[in-house]
């Protein structure tokens, strides 16, 4: 029986236990007394806070229960905020204002994904977006050639340089990208959205940080690299090495960073791209969780301790407009915690499903695009009602362009309005948790996810299902269904299939494009780097090849290779040794 089947069994066992405890709390006087005492304690521990209007409310809202069976069901089945199985949240307080107004506020959960043009252009955007923020949270988008491990001078990619993300070819570009930001500080975190060549870019990041702050900065570095190769194969199509080799490079990186960089998340297990490719919310959650368990199984098989790497796994989900999103992340937290505890024997820190959410890009519509502000605001609300740990909100102009400054800032401000202006998330935990609809959706979604697990299990687990194109086929079928539902009117879209203003002229938006002169500059820099390091590069690539063939830790060697080799040179060297990714359709 594979681990996924064991997770299903563990969840079933947990649900039975909860049901039994509820029954026993009604019949067994001792348990009843215990449960009631715990409930009283929980209430007593909750401080009162004063709203700006002067009203006093509890800092954590709990359901109004006075019957021991139902209390037991809540405590064991859902847990207080920050308690197993973490249905309400991973941490007790999340976005609440500190009790003592003199205490520093927690780090803002807002992340703004940016990347455009050359490194210095993205650097300028980072400065613009973070100028009023207390902490630096730099979330980086890379251009197409970088995502595919190609240099800017590769055949046929000239039109793509700096489009839709930043062009990075060398460690020197990486230096320019984060220039001026205090990478080793506690209030600075960097995320890099890249998977296929993730270990190479990650090595460049470390090398760039070392050049600026010295080697002692490495354990201080905070942030995330996406590095989720399974979802690339299932949905996003930015894999560049065969799956087995890519998993080995990933494992080497996680092994290294788990030991050397205790504050870094070396993988962000992502459902976002699965959902954006057209998956239903249940498919998104099921494939993300099953991929997560597959990674854990792989690392555990390597002999790594789940309590070492488990706390360094992070997750990334989409928040869209389907009803399932009312409960999706809540269910994910529960299933992850149970799986990690009961199947992999992990302790509390490794049980947390630490979640980054992004509002749905797919839901944004070009026609009458200002409606996208409303769509994104709703999705944000759902994301925070699901206690996401961090969040990116999309710019309304994304159907047309890499977001311009104007719409990026509006997207960022939407989060500030929700978290700072509005009282919904500042004063009281659980303000929106536990509605009857939310509870119903939790049950329905959980059952559907477990059903998907069982199907994946029948293929012999995640890798077997992947080889049989199971996830891809399911996602494509869902995408096709959505389009036909839009056509048939089953999924109404305001401004497009309903209430459309036919006379509206095409929107005027500012397009973010990379000029030809900038592209030439990037090519000139790349050429200079290659010339300067030509001799050293040859030796470094030979060494890298030897490590690949010899079975050593490829990531440890990449830290040397990136000093004198370009992204494209390294990709080519690795592909010669392990082959290229063969796409699936």
């Amino acid at each position: 029986m594979s681990r996924l089947a064991q997770v299903c069994d563990a969840v079933a066992a947990h649900n039975r236990l909860v049901a039994n405890q509820a029954v026993r709390a009604r019949t067994d006087a001792k348990l009843r007394a215990e449960v009631l005492a715990r409930w009283e304690q929980a209430h007593a521990a909750i401080p009162q806070v004063e709203l700006p209007t002067g009203l006093k409310v509890p800092r954590i809202a709990l359901p109004q229960l006075d019957e021991a069976g139902e209390i037991a069901r809540y405590l064991y089945g859902e847990g207080l905020p920050g308690e197993f199985p973490y249905v309400n949240s991973a941490y007790p307080e999340m976005y609440l204002d500190p009790l003592d107004p003199h205490e520093p506020k927690p780090e803002e959960p807002t992340r703004l994904f940016s990347g455009l043009g050359l490194a210095e252009d993205t650097n300028a955007r980072f400065r613009y977006l973070s100028r009023h923020q207390r902490t630096y949270r730099l979330s980086t988008a890379f251009d197409g050639p970088t995502l595919y491990g190609l240099d800017s001078d590769a055949d046929g990619v000239a039109g793509k340089i700096g489009e839709g993300g930043v062009a990075i070819d060398t460690v020197e570009d990486m230096l320019r990208l984060y220039d001026g930001f205090p990478l080793g500080d506690a209030d600075c975190s960097v995320s890099m959205t890249i998977s296929g060549p993730a270990p190479i870019l990650m090595a460049m990041y470390i090398a760039a940080a070392k050049r600026r702050f010295g080697p002692q900065v490495v354990p201080q570095l905070r942030g995330t690299v996406q590095a989720d190769i399974l979802k690339e194969v299932q949905a996003q199509n930015e894999a560049i090495f065969p799956v087995g080799a890519a998993l080995r490079f990933l494992r080497d990186m996680i092994e290294w960073t788990s030991r050397e960089m205790p504050r870094w998340y070396p993988i962000s297990i992502s459902g976002y791209h699965i959902a954006e490719a057209g998956a239903t919310p249940v498919q998104q959650a099921a494939y993300t969780l099953s991929n997560g368990f597959a990674y854990v199984e792989m690392l555990a098989a390597r002999g790594l301790d789940a309590d070492l790497f488990g706390p360094r796994l992070s997750f990334f989900l989409d928040s869209g407009l389907d009803l399932e999103y009312l409960a999706l992340a809540r269910v994910c937290r529960k299933l992850w915690a149970i799986g990690m505890r009961d199947v992999f024997g992990a302790g509390p820190k490794a049980q947390l499903f630490k979640l980054h959410t992004q509002t749905s890009g797919r839901s944004l519509i070009a026609a009458e695009f200002k409606n996208n502000l409303t769509r994104t605001a709703l999705e944000l609300m759902l994301a925070y009602a699901n206690a996401t740990n961090s969040c990116h909100s999309n710019g309304a102009d994304e159907p047309f362009t890499t977001p311009s400054e104007e719409w990026s800032l509006l997207a960022s401000h939407a989060q500030s309005i929700l978290l700072e202006e509005s009282g919904l998330f500042r004063h009281m935990m659980n303000a929106l948790s536990g509605s009857p609809g939310m509870k119903v959706m939790e049950q329905v979604v959980e059952a559907a996810i477990l059903e998907e697990f069982r199907t994946i299990e029948e293929f012999g687990g995640v890798l077997g299902a992947m080889e049989n194109r199971y996830q891809r086929t399911q996602i494509q079928a869902s995408a096709h269904a959505i389009e036909r539902q839009i056509s048939s009117g089953l999924r109404p879209i305001v401004g497009l299939t309903r209430y459309a203003n036919r006379d509206e002229p095409p929107p005027r938006v500012q397009l973010v494009r990379t000029s030809a002169s900038k592209k030439r500059l990037q090519l000139a820099r790349l050429k200079a780097f290659k010339t300067t390091h030509a001799a050293a590069a040859k030796q470094a690539l030979t060494r890298l090849g030897e490590v690949v063939d010899g079975g050593g830790n490829v990531f440890a060697e990449l830290l040397n290779t990136v000093e004198c080799c370009t992204l494209g040179q390294i990709t080519e060297c690795l592909q010669e040794r392990v082959g290229k990714f063969r796409p699936m359709v």
Binding site: L147, Y148, G156, G159, G164, I365, P583, V585
Partner: protein, 379 residues
Amino acid sequence: MKRSPLKSPVRLLTAVPICDGHDSAINTINLECIRHGIEVVYLGFHRPEADIVRAAIQEDVRAVGISTYNGGHVEFFRDVRRGLDRAGAGHIGLFGGGGGTISEADARLMKRHGTDEIFFPGASLESIVKFVSDRYAKPGKPDAPATPDGRLARALTRIEAHGVGPAKTAKRRHHARVIGITGPGGAGKTTLIDELVLRYLHAFPAGRIAILSHDPSSVGDGALLGDRATMIHSQDERVFMRSMATRGRAGGLSPATERCLQHLTRQAFELIFVETVGTGQEALPFRARPFDLKVLVMNPDYGARLQLQKIAMLDVADIVVVNKSDQPRARAAAAEVGRRLAVNGRGQRLVSAAACRHRDPGVDELFRLVTGAPTEAAQ
């Protein structure tokens, strides 16, 4: 009015440009086209302009559809148009669309550069299919002399459409080795051929390969011809590849396969691979000449040993490949198949391979058997 005996469907090539993996829209459009009787040759994502042009010409499609999301579309469409025109394929249409990164001004510019139509976000599936069906209902008139591949491709189209071979020419059959590859769906035939192509391109400095690759026609008579998308090494100037839909014929090949093959054997190819659709136990697809070598590719999980008795190809295949030798049951399967072949006593060869493994020695062995190239031991 005289009608041609076989209906000839619109053939379309679709692809996503280099450094772009956004295939959700194109997959949906492919499915919708197929439902409406269109044959779609799907080249996949992350595809350079040269691969698209080459494929469009070899497949002799009426038009190329490109779905693009992450920028650079003005240059990319211009390059594809230019590539087609330069190769004497100005009559092949070009259209596309994307996730909205194409502005109105871009679209005007792209149309000036020779793109027939750009679809913006929100375009309905119906409108796209209607455009393709109307605009490309008839083949475009070539306005320039075709390249040799272009001429060959059009000859194959005529054979497919009219069910007759080309006029007998004086040309004798060339020395091409014709290799038929068959086996159940999912056994890895496509990957195996692509790996053989890779080895050929490395081992021989000159010479060309042809591939006839089959996929089933579906209800509505469209077809998704998707082998090119996974055959990364076969997208090469030295490979002529043609994707064929079965168009109602059972057994793994198309009604025109044998005639197309006859024509191909008169061209200068060293090797010709014919890949069937995924076949069942009773299939014997390579009955007619001119197959020099018949290869059966099997999964290790064919079921109980009794099932082996029912696989008809096991009696006629020259080579049996038990693929996925890295899977649990592979050794046992190879042993069982080996015993079965020994009973046949016809000197059939058994190869255990893992086509998806880089530099797999089993595929190397198959390559030597297929090409007659000397073994390493003999060198």
